[in-house]
């Protein structure tokens, strides 16, 4: 996960105060910036991925989408880039590689949000645009693996020191597996890389470097798959692996499986919102949740007739923004205007 740059970290105890926090920087979260921006509402966007675009960027950047109005064909990446260009006048702040873990209502009606990185926001309005949920590393379906997570089984390397002097098994064939093989080999006591086939998806020069370490006897390369974990109290003592010539128990005490990402609802489930089959129920006038001032838009919400289409999300944010305006600017009168003809909207958009 990408770490926050020093500049956008809230100084210890000093929260970032804003009108609106949008959770999720997928297409619907991005377009929310536009609709809110037209109504003078400043937004911060938080996303667990290290780039904006959500599923469009992570799952199908190259795949064509055919049902965006007026765009007969656009790729996930193309749509993301176009939305980024469209919201540029509103200069939203992105907080990437972070997840909102806590949400609590304050006595003044605002919300205090905290990320997994310790960043804190105070906001008048929350917009949940989290799509299919938070992208989380896939957990290999090995019995009892949960007990070891964060203690001796990790899905990302946050502190290299956790691996110093350890017997490490890395599993996977992409860049994460290769990069950590190269980076941890010098400090681990022993390091084995296991992949299901002798072909790697990662960058060719990383593959070459890895093969060099294998030739020099510094890394053991295994072709096989995970079987069982062994150990107690969260401390791994060994892993049974399935190799071509049968099962083998490796005496490792650190395991790093890299099997890509999956979407999980995540902390949103703990915020006291009414849910229906893991989706957030909203009204169809404002797309507000069961909690006032918290809105849910796009794939993560549900209401009678809901369709999980990007275009539905676009509609939802336009209506949500009207409701958010009444909360953020209670004293201002809201007049409905068109971007085509309104001088005031065009000024906001930077039209000359």
């Amino acid at each position: 996960m990408a770490h926050a740059h020093a500049a956008d970290v809230s100084v210890a105890g000093v929260p970032i105060e804003t009108d609106c926090v949008i959770i999720g920087a997928g297409p619907v979260g991005l377009f929310a910036v536009f609709q809110l921006g037209l109504l003078d509402i400043k937004a911060h966007l938080i996303d667990i991925l290290d780039k904006p675009g959500g599923q469009c960027a992570e799952l199908y950047p190259e795949k064509p989408i055919y049902d965006i109005p007026a765009l007969p064909i656009v790729t996930g990446q193309g749509l993301t880039e176009a939305l980024m260009a469209q919201i540029k006048p509103f200069a939203p702040t992105f907080h990437l590689g972070e997840r909102i873990d806590e949400l609590a209502r304050q006595p003044d009606g605002r919300f205090r949000l905290a990320t997994d990185d310790g960043k804190v926001f105070l906001t008048k309005v929350v917009v949940i645009a989290a799509g299919g949920g938070s992208f989380t590393p896939k957990r290999p379906p090995m019995e009892g693996i949960e007990a070891y997570e964060g203690k001796s089984v990790y899905y990302a390397v946050r502190r290299m020191e956790d691996f110093r002097g350890r017997d490490v098994l890395i599993v996977g064939g992409g860049d994460s597996a290769l990069d950590w093989t190269l980076n941890l080999a010098p400090i681990a006591k022993s390091l084995a890389l296991m992949h299901r086939r002798d072909e790697f998806r990662g960058a060719p020069h990383s593959v070459e470097q890895m093969r060099g370490l294998v030739r020099d006897g510094k890394v053991q390369l295994l072709i096989g798959q995970l079987g069982k974990v062994h150990g107690s109290n969260g401390q791994l003592e060994g892993v049974t692996v399935k190799l071509k010539d049968g099962e083998k128990q490796l005496p490792v005490n650190r395991l790093l499986p890299f099997f890509g990402l999956t979407m999980k609802l995540g902390p949103v489930a703990n915020w006291g919102l009414n849910l229906h089959e893991n989706l957030i129920t909203v009204d169809t006038e404002k797309f507000e949740t069961s909690e006032k001032r918290i809105f849910a838009v796009g794939d993560i919400n549900t209401y009678p007739g809901k369709l999980k289409l990007i275009l539905s999300g676009f509609h939802e944010v336009a209506l949500m923004a009207q409701a958010a305006h009444r909360i953020v600017h209670p004293d201002k009168k809201l007049t409905f205007q068109y971007t085509t003809s309104s001088s005031s909207l065009q000024k906001k958009l930077g039209v000359k």
Binding site: Q55, E58, L59, Y60, K63, G132, K138, R139, P140, P141, G172, G173, G174, H195, R196, R197, E199, R201, Q225, L226, F259, G260, T262, M263
Partner: protein
């Protein structure tokens, strides 16, 4: 229409009628076959529609393309008969196809 038979890990069988041109994943989702999750909706981007092709059908179904082979790295308990069902196009030739659903998709 082509008949596709899904066998669950517990031996339960379900038969699905699939229209040629669909993907096997689409046919499975339409009938809500247990264990076919297809989280990404068929973009070959998640490996949660993993199936094992019955040995008798492996030649007719064929091997995974390179992109699918890469994505199979994200599946669990991959075997030589593993395919992602979103990448198998239904044809009249596949009428009677037998597929096994893995224990878990992750």
């Amino acid at each position: 229409m082509a008949k596709i038979i899904f066998i669950q890990p517990d031996g339960a069988q379900q038969v699905v009628q699939a229209e040629p041109g669909w993907t096997v994943m689409e046919a499975a989702k339409k009938e809500q076959i247990r264990g076919i999750e297809a989280e990404c909706g068929g973009a070959c981007a998640c490996a949660t529609c993993h199936v094992y092709v019955d040995d008798a059908w492996r030649e007719k179904v064929g091997k995974p393309a390179e992109m699918e082979e890469d994505m199979l790295d994200f599946a669990f308990e991959v075997k030589d008969s593993s395919r992602l069902s979103c990448q198998i196009k239904v044809t009249a030739e596949l009428d009677g196809l037998v597929l096994r659903v893995p224990d878990k998709q992750f």
